[in-house]
């Protein structure tokens, strides 16, 4: 604190220096004016001092003369007393004059006056003494002589006064001339220093406040939330500089913090979304599995039973029965898989073929199947139990009620970055509303009569989740006309290794 009191840096120093400059300027101007005024007064004084001195001297000499005359004529003791007073006074003055060693013309004249006063005093003394001694002839001679000397003194005083007057008038002329110049100079100086001071005041104020104002403008902007400000560059080498730098740093820091917080929020949001999706998918899977469990009360038992039946049929030599039972067993085995597992397209097609075989065996000529597969895409991975429910749908809803000539065709082909799986039937077809209802993925009651209990709704949702898309048309397309048939197209993206995503 104490240290801070005496610190002489930054704004404090600047302010002090500025004020000092202005004060000193004004001070110089005033002192100069004062000095000049004093000088002029002193000079004028010196002129008048001489006049007054000489005038007094003259008066004293006159008075001395008068008193002497008075005494000589009346012998008055008053006059004598006055005379001696004047005598002493003049003697002092004379010796004072003679002690002055001044050898210019006026000084010489003054010296003469001093000497003449002494002579005068001698004469008057002699006159008075003669009068006292009643030597009348002598005192008149001395008095006459003293009169003459006092005339000389007056002449000299007059001359000296004249010379002083002349000198004084010259001096006065030079003073007035000088004074005119000086007064102009003073006015010029005062006006100049005022203008200069105004300029300095404005300049200094501007200089000190400019960075402050800049800083405050910036602060206002930042306080309104605008962090995209250009950093302030102030090089004033004082506290404002420090303030500006701190402010710049602060703005950058705040900007960084806000960015970080935003990023974090986004990541959290994404995480939450993903969690939601996961939750949804798990729900769907659970639901499907539950339904499968409901429809197949004890699949393991059924499956083992069927195997036993197949072996029995083989041992009895009923090969066709054995094959049929085996296919039924395969269908069940496939369906025992958890719905969450990933399979290849090949597995799915095989499953469909097994289902077709069973239907063919059951319904004979009433239904015909055709499979057309592009061999190159068989390794593509996809969720399990997707195609079979579609085929089953086509059979149940499209063909079951028709008497003859039912036809279901499965084609798998590559189309750019997708594999198109088409299930085409020539069944009764669907109205547009029905198609829309299916695609809106709300209708659940259609799945009740399925082998797996899995309906279109489940398929669509699983595909969407698996391929992480919300658009239905990305995964399925249904093309149907009443009386002519239906074409369901599943679109499987060609994304190998996509399963790690899940």
């Amino acid at each position: 604190m104490q240290k801070d009191m005496w610190r002489f840096t930054g704004i404090r120093r600047k302010l002090i220096v500025y004020y000092l400059i202005i004060t000193i300027l004004m001070g110089i101007t005033s002192f100069y004016s004062y000095y000049n005024a004093k000088l002029v007064i002193n000079r004028l004084k010196s002129i008048f001092v001489d006049y007054i001195y000489l005038n007094n001297l003259n008066a004293d000499v006159n008075m001395l003369e008068t008193e002497v005359e008075k005494y000589l004529s009346t012998k008055s003791s008053d006059a004598l007393l006055n005379y001696y007073t004047l005598y002493n006074k003049l003697q002092e003055q004379a010796s004072a004059i003679l002690n002055k060693k001044n050898y210019d013309q006026d000084g010489l004249m003054l010296k003469d006056i001093g000497n003449m006063i002494e002579s005068l005093l001698n004469e008057t003394d002699a006159a008075i003494n003669a009068k006292r001694g009643r030597i009348s002839s002598e005192y008149i001679a001395h008095f006459t002589r003293s009169n003459k000397i006092s005339e000389y003194i007056k002449l000299y005083i007059n001359n000296l006064l004249n010379s002083k007057l002349q000198e004084g008038s010259l001096k006065y002329a030079s003073i007035t001339k000088n004074m005119e110049f000086i007064s102009y100079l003073n006015v010029f100086l005062i006006i100049g220093s005022i203008l200069f001071n105004i300029f300095l005041a404005i300049f200094f104020t501007y200089r000190i406040t400019k960075p402050l104002i800049d800083l405050s403008h910036l602060a206002v902007r930042v306080s309104k939330g605008d962090f995209d400000v250009r950093p302030l560059s102030i090089k004033t080498n004082d506290e404002i500089n420090i303030l500006a730098e701190a402010f710049n740093k602060m703005v950058v820091s705040i900007k960084n913090y806000i960015g970080e917080i935003k990023n974090q929020a986004e990541v959290e949001k994404k995480l939450k979304e993903q969690e939601m999706q996961n939750l949804k998918m798990r729900n769907i899977l659970k639901e499907a599995e539950l339904k499968a469990l409901q429809s197949q009360i004890n699949p393991h038992f059924l499956f083992n039973t069927l195997n036993a039946a197949a072996q029995l049929a083989m041992m009895e030599g009923a090969d066709k029965s054995s094959e049929f039972i085996e296919n039924v067993a395969n269908l069940f085995r496939y369906n025992l898989k958890k719905l969450g597992t990933t399979v290849t397209l090949q597995d799915e097609i095989n499953n469909v073929k097994t289902y077709m075989y069973i239907l063919k065996t059951r319904f004979g000529d009433r239904v015909d199947f055709k499979v057309d597969v592009d061999e190159g895409v068989l390794d593509v991975e996809m969720p399990c139990t997707i195609i079979q429910p579609v085929v089953e749908n086509a059979f149940i809803h499209g063909l079951e009620d028709t008497e003859k000539g039912g036809f279901i065709k499965l084609t798998v082909k590559k189309d750019n970055d997708k594999v198109l799986i088409e299930v085409i039937d020539n069944g009764i077809g669907m109205s547009e509303e029905k198609v829309r209802a299916i695609l809106s993925a709300d209708n659940e009651d259609l799945s009740k009569r399925h082998v797996t209990g899995i309906g279109m709704h489940n398929i669509i949702n699983r595909l969407r989740l698996f391929y992480n898309t919300s658009a239905i048309e990305d995964v399925i397309e249904i093309d149907s006309k009443i009386g002519e048939g239906t074409k369901v197209t599943l679109k499987i993206p060609l994304m190998k290794g996509d399963k790690e995503n899940d």
């Binding site: 400059i21 110089i28 003469d112 002449l155 300095l200 090089k235």
Partner: protein, 334 residues
């Protein structure tokens, strides 16, 4: 913008610094200007008192100048006093004052009057040495005389007259009957003049006039010379005032070239007349040297108490050939 501002500020910093320095320098300069330098003179050794015949003649002005120069050289103070115009009473008064003032030495012009002798006697009693200049008071107790030998002055005037008239002339001489010159001196001048022309039989002095009351008197004499049948064709005047008066009349009567004038003095009027050829020439003593030598002699008296009683200054001869020089000298005095 920023950088421009900074540059501006930096420039302004320098400008302000320079201005402040300038103001400081200016104030110091103004302060110095106020201080009037006063040379400290050495205290003079003596106080001498000089009384001149008058204070308007260039002659006396030059005397004063010479005295002042010598005063500077010998470190003495000179108090110069003179009546404005020739006035013997005033001269005497100054002399009396000088004695009463107990000065260290008196240098004075004297006129041919007993009162001067008395005052010089009084000064002598007071122990104040007196030197006379230009004109002498032989009978007084003066210590020395500084001036020109009057015989020599007359002689030089005679030589000038010979030149002016080529050895043939009827000459009138006008001497002034002022108090200033004693008759001895006047006679010496005339004798010198006569001595100069004695080898020229065709030159003769017709008449010696005596002027009385300054200018007017000399004019009257000249007029009478012109109107007389004496066939005078040359005038010698021994006084500067008479010389001017004579020249004026010669001009007024249109006699320039008919009557030659040889005069005395170096006033501006005389110099102009010489320049125009109205006056052939003048002779005079060197006033500057009178002033200078008088102070020098007085210092010698004070210090050695031993000085020659007569210091001859010599004669200045002014003709058309060297008149320009004297014009310059006059201008330098004015």
């Amino acid at each position: 913008m920023k950088t421009l501002n900074e540059k501006f500020f930096k420039l302004m910093d320098k400008v302000i610094l320079i201005l402040v320095i300038l103001i400081a320098a200016l104030s110091i300069f103004l302060y110095k200007l106020q201080k009037v330098e006063e040379p400290i003179a050495k205290t003079p050794q003596y106080h001498f008192y000089m009384v001149a015949q008058n204070s308007v003649d260039p002659f006396w002005k030059e005397v004063k100048m010479g005295a002042m120069d010598a005063a500077k050289r010998y470190n003495v103070a000179i108090e110069f006093n003179a009546p404005k115009f020739n006035n013997i009473q005033e001269e005497l008064q100054y002399l009396d004052i000088a004695i009463l003032s107990k000065v260290d030495g008196i240098i004075t012009h004297v006129s041919n009057s007993k009162e001067f002798v008395d005052l010089i006697e009084e000064a002598y009693k007071e122990g104040i040495p007196v030197i006379t200049i230009e004109n002498d008071a032989k009978d007084s107790k003066r210590q020395a005389f500084i001036g020109t030998n009057s015989f020599q002055l007359g002689e030089e005037a005679g030589k000038l007259m010979i030149q002016a008239t080529k050895g043939k002339a009827n000459i009138a001489i006008i001497v002034s009957n002022d108090y200033q010159l004693d008759t001895v001196n006047q006679n010496l001048k005339i004798n010198g003049f006569l001595d100069a022309i004695k080898d020229y039989p065709q030159m003769k002095v017709v008449k010696v006039y005596t002027s009385k009351l300054g200018t007017l008197s000399a004019e009257e004499i000249t007029q009478s010379i012109i109107s007389s049948k004496q066939n005078i064709n040359a005038i010698y005047t021994t006084d500067s005032v008479d010389t001017i008066g004579t020249a004026q009349v010669i001009v007024d009567f249109n006699k320039v070239g008919d009557i030659a004038i040889v005069g005395y003095g170096d006033t501006a009027d005389i110099l102009r007349y010489i320049d125009k050829g109205i006056i052939y020439g003048t002779v005079m003593s060197d006033p500057y040297r009178i002033g200078y030598e008088s102070v020098k002699s007085m210092v010698e008296i004070k210090e050695k108490n031993n000085v020659s009683t007569f210091v001859d200054i010599g004669v200045n001869i002014i003709t058309k050939d060297n008149v320009k020089e004297y014009f310059k000298r006059i201008q330098s005095i004015e």
